[in-house]
């Protein structure tokens, strides 16, 4: 159905090798280039990447495996990475693990079967056995957001403990001592790290560990954040300030706070999504992940592997999240 070199040969009379060179930057007579281009236009020819990849052992495409497609953090990073990769000549294939380690395994093998040149993964858990197969084929991997056990791979993460600690500091500076955290299960790397950073910072600032009932492990959903905030506010001694451990919690907690408006108004630090922060008034403080920088570093690492230095020891880039201080509100006015 689709035209091939043979069709171009039929039209131009040139050999397959010349035609191939034309498409791969070899030396071809200007006159012949033109004839080929004419044939291309006439036939609607496009190179077959499958055949090219099979032959050249380079598909010029990278696989991106996301733990959850439906997460702004992920899609934002993907957009940023895709743009950079396109500039470098790489196409990208996005796969969704839907939170399932099994689907993740399938996705990785699917991508290896497609002969991707490299893999970027936001892993579901800390253990990703399929990556051993990638390594066996010499396919480099960069983990994003969470490191991967086995440590054979590059990674880009943020300093989650420091990020949450900065939020705690902001609140403590305003006089808060009863600070709560909306967090997820400890089995998630980021949730665990943020919880640990939180506990450490609270202890440092208040001289006491956080109260257990102020550190809620919740389902990582909007509803989880909503319920979490409501439960906190209904405690016998509710916290005067709340740190949200991620975007979903921030959104859910915001809605809960609005509903409770008037009754209680804890100070509040959101996470992740500056667009959302811009829209809430008074604008709350936010921990903002350096999404562009994460994408840039991930691309940098994978491209470096692809262009040779396969033997460099695996590297984990740890980036700093920013704390964007909001407009005047409870936490800046202090407890007054």
């Amino acid at each position: 159905m689709a035209a091939t070199y043979k069709d171009i040969r039929r039209v131009t009379g040139l050999s397959l090798a010349t035609i191939s060179k034309h498409f791969n930057g070899g030396n071809v007579l200007a006159a012949n280039r033109e004839r080929i281009e004419e044939a291309v236009a006439e036939l609607g020819y496009r190179v077959n990447d499958v055949a090219r990849g099979l032959r050249s052992r380079r598909s010029m495409t990278l696989g991106i495996v996301l733990d959850e497609l439906n997460r702004t953090f992920n899609t934002t990073i993907v957009s940023a990475m895709e743009e950079r990769l396109r500039d470098a000549g790489y196409g990208t294939i996005i796969c969704d693990s839907r939170g399932s380690a099994e689907a993740e395994d399938e996705a990785i093998h699917f991508l290896l079967g497609k002969m991707v040149d490299g893999l970027v993964i936001v892993p579901v858990g800390s253990d990703v056995p399929a990556l051993a197969d990638a390594a066996a084929r010499g396919v480099p991997v960069v983990a994003v957001d969470r490191p991967v056990a086995g440590a054979g791979t590059d990674a880009v993460v943020i300093d989650n403990r420091a990020a949450v600690a900065a939020a705690v500091d902001l609140l403590a500076d305003a006089g808060h001592t009863a600070i709560a955290l909306l967090t997820g299960p400890d089995s998630w790397y980021t949730m665990r790290e943020r919880r640990l950073g939180f506990a450490e910072a609270v202890a440092r600032r208040t001289g006491r560990p956080p109260r257990p009932e102020h550190v809620l492990p919740l389902p990582v959903t909007i509803e989880g954040g909503f319920d979490g905030m409501r439960r906190l506010m209904r405690l016998a001694s509710p916290p005067t300030a709340v740190v949200c451990g991620n975007y979903e919690f921030t959104l859910g907690a915001t809605i809960a706070l609005n509903e409770l408006a008037g009754e209680v108004t804890p100070a509040f630090v959101g996470f992740d999504h500056l667009d959302l922060a811009r829209v809430i008034r008074p604008r709350p403080s936010f921990v903002v992940q350096p999404v562009d920088e994460i994408a840039a570093r991930a691309v940098e690492l994978i491209l470096a592997r692809l262009s040779g230095d396969a033997e460099r020891p695996p590297e984990t880039a740890v980036l700093r999240a920013d704390l964007v201080v909001g407009e005047a509100s409870t936490y800046e006015r202090g407890l007054s």
Copy 2:
């Protein structure tokens, strides 16, 4: 690097043909099957989909091209489709057009170069020239959410006009006559359709077209919805009820309403995202798109094309969106 049939031949002594048959359901002696499986385990062999696709002219993968990756509606549909496609033996490649017709064009050609067997597309605009190339290669296409000009392709859309009309009816039944719509540019198919359905329903119910200042074309973002709602509420004669034209508007408008709580409380119908609806109290009414059904129909249409009936005339499935009525609140109590 990766093992091939040749490696298996070396280990088992069997011929390439026999090995191929083993992997493709041919008749192979049980004893030989076992020997092959042992070799597979030993070598960590996996079929090379690239080579297989080149040879068999079927890659068993479909391309999914999204106008925007970062949109819950899209990612939800993708998840639902992926699951069904996997059951049918198809892998999927997701590409993001990032709202750019140019990127969309690139994505389609990227996918055609990967020899995808079919294409599902949520198009950026109504015109997608690259689809002609798909047609020329006999690659079937299903458009989702918005139809595509040229009409050579199957499509799955919802009845946008009826959906918005139902929302207007609900509000009108509660006595509202000053109803507003948060909408996007008319160049978006869904935004235009919803606006038209809105205008028609308002005229039918109130005997007058909607006031121009009550039909706001906004940037399709959370912030757009936020600003839109605020602008509406600051009008000299603000509407008593507001219909949101999509998810982003719903979220932004919700936040604006919360901020304005006490001052004004228009009745309110959200769009698209039931998870969000569950979290807002009192729970607002929502137009809910039948996401699973959309995914199911899209998969059905593309699979039908793939299994032969290439000559069936293009079909556009029009599905009904549901109006989920919320808890008691302004619109049910009427204007009282």
